[in-house]
């Protein structure tokens, strides 16, 4: 009996001790255990550990910052800002001679929709194009080094909002006009808007070898506002669509006056047909460009009625349909390209506007999809399973629906007021169907407060399942108008500029460094390297440039560190000048030495342990 008692008490005390030592009580729960396992798995889905890379590049519009923002998906980390339409002291873009000339005197741009170059309807990773709504410019960014390589100012257009959506093999980028402008007489009165104004469309060509833009032709469309555009794919490959509002031709208080008509239009045009016409000389010279007047031709340009004040128009991956919606209407409208071609063939028109045939809505419209309570449909992206995802600006949600059946499959809130959506390869012939990002205009109280002006935001969704799964929310710089998400395998940027012995401005050998004077022009052929400047290796002080007040000074600098991620900067104190040279690169700075004195120059981009010592002087001798 005693033995049993000893055993039982031993077990009891032992178990009690084990409980005290090993059991976890509620009060000692770790912080992570308060997150549900669901939240933990979402965190795991977006976590990219050190040593690994994100799956996708997200190329985002920088809006009125004028720049391109590059994010990684799924981490949503901001990786790089690429200056495009606006000077950028961090890289010296707009300061060195080449980029300064490219930017002109502009201090800002309004970067709207980025468009990656395409081959066979999918991103080829060669270039990214962008438009500047504010100053009628178009830019190309070379994706080999992620630097802007050409900017062109396009005449006759008034705000290429809709972007540079490219045709299947990047034959053209289309720049329509948001603000119609006086056409013949630059001072034509707003009272004569309908007669004297036009909304010109520009068909741009980009030469990928020369890396330069040219204008193929222009079309003098009626004085309306042209919004979003898409090129066709496959069966519709030779066609393109543009939404247009203010077909009321209002000239004031557009909020009310441009919202009068029940229907506005989609402009449906055959870019290939117009190209052939222009090649045959069927155009008029206007202000130096080949101008086509729609009212003078009886083919290639048509109007399709659409619910009032449309914004986005998107083409399905198979190219059989285009989807548009009125901003103020509750429904997405699916139109059939084939029905449109048939209506054109049969001259199935309901009338004409400004000399352009209007196709019969009933003949071209295939389906109206109207999710109850969904308001403000804007933009549509696609997955690889026949589904569409449409942003609802007013009701702050994404609606997933099937293109073939029109059935609404899922709806999910976003935070808040989504403009564009971007899915992985989501506007190409082969969407990847895994990630969807909602580009939101409003963040409200989602992040730490930084004062009255809040960041914009992006919501990341996993769209592989039947239901969309919201993974993360990220604050972003203004302003995400549109983005494109391209798989990392499509891009292969280089890291070091190769030595170019044919470049007369490049110096790779200290013995070739020199300062040449020709009248009042001083030209420096120098080197930057860890951790010194060499402007003239034979001089007593190789890191000094001495000039006279009033001289024009040209400084060519070659970074001879052929070494990944070793970039040098060159800033001149009190001269408001700074630029960078990437590894192996030669760049040029030009200025007039218009004030005398001793001005330190220094490396502005951290380069080495002795970066702080990488300095020199610009000495400007006063006029005698």
């Amino acid at each position: 009996m005693k033995k049993a008692l000893s055993a039982v008490s031993g077990i009891a005390v032992g178990f009690l001790a084990a409980t005290v030592f090993f059991a976890e009580f509620g009060g000692s729960a770790t912080p992570t255990s308060t997150a549900s396992s669901d939240e933990r798995s979402k965190a795991e889905q977006v976590y990219v550990p050190f040593g690994e890379h994100d799956d996708y590049y997200l190329m985002n519009s920088g809006g009125h910052s004028g720049q391109l923002f590059v994010y990684g998906v799924p981490s949503m980390r901001h990786i790089r800002t690429v200056p495009v339409f606006t000077p950028d002291p961090a890289t010296g873009y707009g300061y060195d001679a080449e980029s300064k000339e490219m930017l002109g005197d502009y201090t800002w741009g309004d970067f709207h929709h980025p468009a990656l170059s395409e081959t066979d309807g999918d991103y080829d990773g060669n270039f990214l194009f962008a438009t500047d709504v504010a100053n009628n410019r178009v830019a190309a960014i070379d994706l080999e080094d992620f630097h802007t390589t050409d900017i062109m100012e396009v005449p006759n257009i008034g705000g290429p909002h809709c972007a540079a959506f490219v045709t299947e093999n990047t034959e053209y980028l289309f720049l329509p006009t948001r603000f119609s402008l006086p056409f013949e007489d630059p001072h034509a009165s707003l009272d004569d808007f309908s007669e004297e104004y036009r909304g010109v469309l520009s068909a741009m060509i980009f030469d990928q070898e020369q890396k330069t833009f040219d204008i193929g032709y222009q079309v003098a469309l009626p004085p309306w506002s042209y919004d979003k555009a898409r090129a066709g794919k496959g069966v519709s490959g030779e066609w393109a669509v543009i939404t247009t509002y203010n077909t009321e031709e209002a000239t004031t208080n557009l909020e009310i006056n441009a919202s009068q008509a029940d229907r506005d239009f989609i402009v449906l045009f055959n870019w290939k047909g117009l190209e052939e016409m222009v090649a045959n000389g069927e155009y008029e010279e206007f202000n130096g460009e080949k101008m086509v007047f729609p009212e003078n031709i009886d083919e290639h340009i048509y109007l399709v009625p659409v619910a009032k004040s449309p914004h986005g128009v998107d083409v399905t991956p198979d190219g059989t349909r285009f989807i548009a919606s009125g901003k103020l209407a509750p429904a997405m409208t699916v139109f059939s390209f084939e029905s449109a071609f048939e209506a054109i063939e049969n001259e199935d028109f309901s009338g004409e506007r400004n000399g352009i045939p209007v196709l019969n809505y009933e003949s071209v419209m295939e389906r109206e999809v109207d999710p109850p309570g969904a308001l403000g449909p804007l933009h549509t992206q696609f997955d690889d399973r026949g589904n569409a995802y449409t942003s609802m600006f007013i009701s702050s949600e994404v609606v997933k629906w099937n293109v073939d059946s029109g059935e609404v499959l899922d709806r999910h809130d976003v935070y808040y007021s989504p403009g564009h959506l971007v899915a992985a390869h989501g506007d190409t012939v082969e969407p990847h169907g895994n990630y969807l990002v909602s580009l939101n205009k409003i963040a409200k109280n989602n992040f730490l407060s930084v004062g009255p002006s809040h960041p914009e935001s992006m919501d990341l969704f996993d769209i592989t399942g039947d239901e969309m799964v919201h993974l993360s929310t990220t604050p972003v710089n203004p302003e995400p108008h549109y983005g494109q998400m391209v798989h990392r395998d499509v891009l292969d940027p280089f890291h070091v500029y190769p030595q170019d012995e044919s470049d007369p401005l490049a110096v790779y050998d200290q013995n070739d460094t020199r300062i040449e004077r020709n009248g009042d022009h001083v030209e420096v052929f120098g080197i930057t390297m860890r951790s010194k400047f060499i402007f003239d290796a034979t001089a007593e002080r190789p890191d000094v440039i001495e000039v006279n007040e009033g001289d024009t000074v040209t400084i060519h600098l070659t970074n001879t560190d052929f070494d990944q991620d070793i970039t040098h900067g060159f800033g001149i104190m009190d001269y408001d000048l700074n630029f960078e040279q990437m590894p192996g690169q030669t760049k040029t700075l030009e200025f007039v030495a218009d004030k005398s004195g001793v001005f330190p120059v220094y490396c502005t981009n951290f380069c080495s342990a002795l970066h702080q010592e990488m300095t020199g002087y610009l000495i400007v001798n006063p006029k005698e």
Partner: protein
């Protein structure tokens, strides 16, 4: 009495150890699972492979001096398949570019470097004539690749 104490102690130990497994069983089990996770094992194997790759058996005896002298702590020599840190430049073409970049031949540079960082490195641990000649020869071959 002794028996009673022994039985009490045995009971205590059994219950204490049993209690440990009851309360901590889940976490130890998951540790076991992780340890036997084939992916983790694979990664370890890969890491070991990478580690051995830094001194691959294919490296010539001349090139071995570059790793023996610690150059790889800062430099890679990709043309010789020598992995190294990325602190300093890849030395694949150093033999050719040193005269233009630093104003003296590689051999002289290694005796009296013109950059502050390399001066610190060499002053603290000068190369023997034999090692320096071997390094120059290895980098000459690297530049020929």
């Amino acid at each position: 009495m002794k028996n009673g104490i022994m039985i009490f102690l045995i009971g205590f130990i059994v219950a204490f150890v049993g209690g440990y497994f009851i309360y901590q069983g889940d976490s130890t089990a998951s540790v076991d699972v992780e340890q036997t996770d084939p992916d983790v094992t694979d990664e370890k194997t890969i890491e070991e492979d990478v580690a051995t790759d830094t001194e691959p058996t294919t490296v010539s005896a001349e090139a071995r001096v570059i790793s023996d002298q610690g150059c790889l702590a800062c430099h890679a020599v990709s043309s010789l398949d020598l992995d190294g840190a990325s602190t300093g430049p890849d030395l694949s073409d150093a033999y050719n570019i040193t005269p233009g970049k630093h104003g003296k031949e590689l051999d002289e540079f290694l005796q009296e470097p013109t950059s502050a960082v390399m001066t610190t490195v060499i002053d603290g641990n000068p190369l023997s004539d034999e090692d320096r000649v071997a390094i120059v020869e290895a980098l000459r071959k690297a530049a020929d690749q």
